[in-house]
Amino acid sequence: MGDRMVFREHLFRSAAVICGLLTLAIFCFLCVLGLPLLQDGHLLSLLSSPWAPARGLYGIFPMLLASILLALLSLALGFPVSLGCSLLITALAPRRLRMLLIGMIRLMAGIPTVVYSFAALFLLVPLMRTLIGRGSGLSLLTAAPVLALLIVPTMVIFFVAGFEKVNRAHLLALDALGGSRVQKIIHILLPGARPALINGTLLGFGRAMGDTMVSLMLAGNSTAVPSSLADSARTLPAHIALVMASDFDSMEFTSIFACGLLLYLVTGLLMLLMRLPGRSPDNES
């Protein structure tokens, strides 16, 4: 029995190790396949030159910039809404409405990106064209709200789970001291659910950074460096999807592995940065 138990505990560790190794495996894989480009000393030009394969320039800086801008913008839109909605679900809404909202959120988590983007193509794009007053209506500003809509369910589910784990006795204590619902939110729920808030936001950000379809269909995909949020721009995942179909042995194709690598590194770096100010979100109790 003892052996079996030790065995099972090893199982847990192995599972984690496998998952961790998979992450590293992707990294190595991207490195190996992107190697030709890196070897040719294109690395720097990757970040400085424009994208013009016909002239042998494979720069992806505009895409990198657009990716980060878009992800941040959609997080800026999505985070407050997620927070508000999850608080509504846990603390403010009556029971019935709460169930309804949770159902709604969970349903939204399963709506394909394609559907969002497709509907937005007919509904949001003309609207944005009129609002912006120039250009096609395909822009970062158009993609951001749709992307926000996409990441909100993920975040809300995480946030709500976090809030619900907050000790009931603490909530009751605050009630007994004459606190209002809003005070309950500010003083008990938010601090109590901090790890869940951080984790949910990180996941949401990752999702926004990595989404292909929304930016592919709504952001316009022009390869120029966006000079404003109302400009058409191309994100890295969309770029990968667009270049994907070119010749296998071409430099273009190799460069998308460099894109993948860059995406990977940028997310990794951001995760590291988020850990710097405080301690790791996991060490919080």
Partner: protein, 295 residues
């Protein structure tokens, strides 16, 4: 009550209600639009084309103009991916919450966050390249197929499962956590009989999230085996059709308004499928909780 605090109260309350309303409005607009465009085509013929439904269900005849193969493909995809991902994800989550500590935990934590940040298209790219690689080594039998897609999707949703499990376990009240050991439970028993059942709702929430992600992802399956027409897959090594890919394909390649309408019909169908899975998960959660805690 001071004025400033009153303002805070009102702002926070309004803010929360507005967010909820905003989401609700977005969903209603979206679903309403889908129904307006796709509702009329919804029906048996959307599913089975002109093949008799019974023959199609019993796999006696191919379905050509219907979404039945895509529906079946999506379901198989979800089941396959979840069967692979759930054990691995939950086990890793348990390891993170209950066993890992200090440096190890920090490293794994970072890795999983990065894992969550890997774009699906990169996962698809990796899946495709690895398949090509394997194909060169092992020859004809390895092709982009259902199995590869399931593997890639499972990989994609792992972080959701890991994180929900971990967060759920970590936020259990220390008193509850300490009770079973005091009664002579081993660590494993404590996890299996108290901690996990206790966090079941949260974990199911994660599973629902992951399922939704499997059901909707297009970028991965596009590169690893989903095709425009294949019929019902007979084995894991077959190619398959899938609803999200179909929607993408139609939106990209429709030639007539009728075809576009089937695209909207497919979107509605996918929505229905997701709702059905959701209800199933909730029923399962209730049953499971009762079974684990009250029997």
């Amino acid at each position: 009550m001071t004025g400033q605090r009153k303002i805070t109260e009102i702002t926070v309350t309004w803010f929360c209600w507005l967010s909820g309303l905003l989401l609700l409005a977005a969903l209603v607009i979206l679903v309403g639009y889908l129904i307006r465009r796709g509702g009329p085509v919804l029906g048996l013929s959307l599913l089975f084309g002109d093949t008799p439904p019974l023959d199609a269900l019993l796999l006696r005849k191919h379905v050509f103009d219907g979404l039945y193969p895509a529906l079946a493909g999506t379901l198989l995809l979800i089941i396959g991916a979840m069967v692979l991902a759930i054990p691995l994800g939950i086990a890793s989550g348990i390891y993170m919450a209950e066993y890992a500590g200090g440096r190890t935990k920090a490293v794994f934590s970072l890795l999983f966050d990065i894992l969550a940040g890997i774009p699906s298209i990169v996962v698809g790219l990796a899946g495709l390249s690895i398949t090509i690689f394997l194909h060169r080594i092992f020859g004809e039998r390895i092709m982009p197929c259902l199995l590869i897609s399931c593997l890639a999707l499972a990989y994609l949703v792992l972080p959701y499962l890991i994180r929900t499990t971990q967060v759920a376990l970590e936020s259990i009240d220390p008193v509850v956590r300490r009770t079973a050991p005091a009664l002579g439970a081993s660590r494993l028993q404590n996890i299996g009989r108290v901690l996990l059942p206790h966090s079941l709702p949260a974990i199911i929430g994660g599973i629902i999230l992951a399922t939704g992600r499997c059901a909707e992802d297009t970028a991965v399956i596009m590169l690893t085996g989903a095709v425009a027409s294949a019929g019902i897959p007979r084995s894991l090594l077959d190619q398959y059709e899938a609803l999200p890919f179909y929607i993408y394909y139609i939106s990209a390649q429709y030639t007539s308004p009728d075809e576009l309408a089937t695209g909207f019909g497919a979107a509605l169908l996918l929505l229905l499928l997701c709702s059905a899975l959701l209800v199933l998960a909730l029923v399962l959660q209730r049953r499971l909780t009762i079974f684990l805690l009250y029997r």
